[in-house]
Symmetry: C2
Subunit: 430 residues, 2 copies
């Protein structure tokens, strides 16, 4: 762990710097797979599944039979836990529903917004040893609440040609309409362009490796929207002298176990916290199965001593962390000063894993400093706000002349004329 | 104008197809200008201003003196019109302010969203013969309402080194903080990376030519968010036999005058409307100063006869137009069925130019079918919704076990442990 004491503000840019993520060297490979999927559809997807996932799939769609089989394979305990998480995610995201107000901006001119679900969305769930069924809940639950008509999910199968049963159970609970066995670039291509079996969608959500990230970026240039750019996961903990050291250490480690590129950041006003956290992290690290990976991520972690909580939150805002944990006595006051962060955890009991799984907030969040400009996934991510306006004759009287003058000044004569013909019909002087 | 009568649904995909926009052949040029601006800052920007805009600028920033000079150059009438438009845009976008609700998803688990302004935003306003001061209002007004701390505007100067006065007047009214004389790729680079005089921003908004579009796409891959992908402007008018032919023709022409690649689309349930609109368009076209450009855009316009209003709105939803005008008697009923559109105009008096300038809705809207997945610019475009969660001891009792089980099933032991240490402190069985 790198310890930095009382850095000057001029050094902050360096301290909060993340490793440069450049996927451009993958672009050619990714482009050729995408082009092939666009051209050959299912055959191409199956070919890449054989090549990259080492599985020969007769069909891509997960069958009803496989869904039922999965139900039997997931323990009642885990199913109950998934139900609790789903209930909380559903409750919080339902509260985000938008009701537009009609606004009369001038007499006879009424404007409003209406939130309308994106008709078709695609969710990508990565494979690997651990099944990310929690991400299924996070991406599909708000899609269902929004009212998306088609919720497509792609995830790579194991070598046995099966999808992990917990993923299928979570998908059914959350309301996914169609599940396909496809991973990596070929899955992104299938959802962006559509194939014989995979429907084309309008927006793609979900995490993935560098290839998936590059593929999402490429298709986002022309064909489909994406949730947000992606980078390694990260946490920033702000702790004062009242912080529970055992909890702080456990939270830092829960971030470190994600991977060797995970970002772990502690900002504290107490020298003692730095010393105690170091010792406690080392003690807890020894007990972890993924301790080698976590230890590597910790090598690059930063423990920063600052002189005040104001300075702590300023530094955190400069970092713009994906997750921000406030282990400080007066967390409400500090929370009010958060400007850049994805999701914020208040008080000693609000561990990041609460939000990762079951508090109800979404865990798909902006990393790599993107929290300066992007929100995490929320109900809005699955909707568009379409604007409407209605004008009466009075409306033409209210704004007709202004529109005409501005259009003339922009040398858009036909724009002016579209208003003028209406003004003349109403005998309004133009 | 291309007339299509009663097409089969299977032909719709062809009818709504837009020309493929591929800016990839510009990518190398754009990348080299961006890299140079990143490296050399102001000097590079000034160099490209000399090269592309033929103007030798001593400084990029517009001075207070130039701002005051501009005030004197804009007529009182136009200034009053800009004030009316600004008032309406402000009124409508202020009504979009978000108030988050605190939701207790389980006893002791409280979650909420808070809308926080993006700290620094950049607005691009293209140059050319006509000054797009209306776009200044559309982009800067909501930025100011959102509370963005820094609102930077770049626009290319004329050969005299001056920015059009109407742009400066609109910028002052709308609350822009800093204005710079820079256009094209160099302006996008300056705002994405920051230079000695231009602040780095977190999100870039605004229209532009193919080079600007390619530059926005390139910087969006790593450095900064952008409002949305761009394409040629477009309108779809749905008209029934009650439609005012003069108004319909004027609305189609107001779109056609934007450029030869403008998309003009009429869907009607009446053969007579097609015949009458054709004649009226030709009559009005003759009176327009930009008639040659408009005539070219009209060559590719489509007038489609369908059998019912249901079919009309289905076809419009398949097209996903930027602007949708409902010149039908029962417009409220049709409006309820809109699924894909940027902004919708209801009734015979709601011309597109009302929304382009002064109704209060935003005119920065998704084109090229992107309305399937993107909203137009609105107050949300300048904010992030940060999530917060607070857990009490009861919260750990409510969800602790579910979090632990799910983390274990995802083989994230340190995640499970972060919850477990809290459960043990509270003597909850794990």
């Amino acid at each position: 762990m790198i310890i930095i004491r009382n850095p000057e503000r001029s050094e902050w840019a360096k301290i909060v710097e993340r490793p440069h993520l450049d996927v451009s060297q993958l672009n050619d490979t990714v482009a050729s797979v995408l082009a092939d999927v666009k051209k050959r559809g299912d055959d191409a997807v199956k070919g890449y599944e054989l090549k990259f996932d080492h599985v020969d799939l007769p069909t891509l769609a997960v069958s009803e039979e496989e869904m039922n089989e999965a139900e039997a394979l997931v323990s009642a305990d885990l199913k109950a836990a998934i139900q609790v998480a789903h209930y909380n995610i559903k409750t919080f995201h339902e509260s985000q529903q938008f009701k537009g107000k009609k606004i009369e901006t001038q007499p006879g001119v009424v404007c409003w917004q209406k939130s309308v679900a994106i008709q078709k969305v695609g969710l990508y769930i990565p494979g690997g040893t651990a099944p990310l069924f929690s991400t299924v809940l996070m991406l599909a639950t708000p899609a269902k609440i929004a009212g998306c008509e088609e919720i497509v999910l792609c995830t790579p199968p194991g070598r046995d040609g099966k999808v992990n049963p917990a993923i299928l159970v979570a998908a059914r609970i959350a309301g996914v309409s169609k599940i396909f066995k496809a991973g990596g670039v070929q899955a992104i291509g299938a959802m962006a362009y559509g194939t014989q079996s995979v429907p084309k969608v309008y927006k793609i959500f979900g995490p993935g490796n560098q290839y998936v990230m590059a593929a999402k970026q490429q298709v986002s240039l022309h064909d489909v929207a994406i949730d947000m750019p992606a980078g390694p996961s990260e946490v920033c903990v702000i702790a004062d002298k009242h912080a529970n050291i055992e909890f702080v250490a456990a939270d830092l480690l829960s971030q470190a176990e994600h991977g060797i590129d995970s970002q772990v950041f502690l900002i504290t006003t107490s020298e003692q916290v730095i010393l105690d956290v170091q010792a406690e992290v080392n003690r807890q690290l020894d007990l972890l199965p993924r301790k080698e990976m976590a230890a590597k991520a910790l090598d690059n972690s930063r423990l920063v001593l600052v002189s005040s909580l104001q300075e702590a939150i300023d530094l955190s805002n400069a970092y713009a962390p994906e997750h921000l944990i406030l282990q400080v006595k007066d967390y409400a006051k500090v929370a009010n000063k958060v400007v850049n962060a994805g999701s914020v955890f208040l008080g000693e009991y609000a561990c990041e894993s609460a939000g990762d799984y079951a508090s109800g907030t979404n865990h798909t969040l902006p990393t790599h400093g993107y929290a300066t400009a992007y929100s995490g996934v929320n109900l809005d991510s699955y909707c568009r706000k379409i604007t409407f306006q209605h004008l009466t004759e009075d409306g033409i009287r209210s704004i007709g002349r202004a529109v005409e003058l501005m259009a003339e000044a922009e040398q858009l004569e036909a724009h002016a004329n579209a208003m003028r013909v209406r003004m003349r019909t109403l005998n309004i002087k133009d």
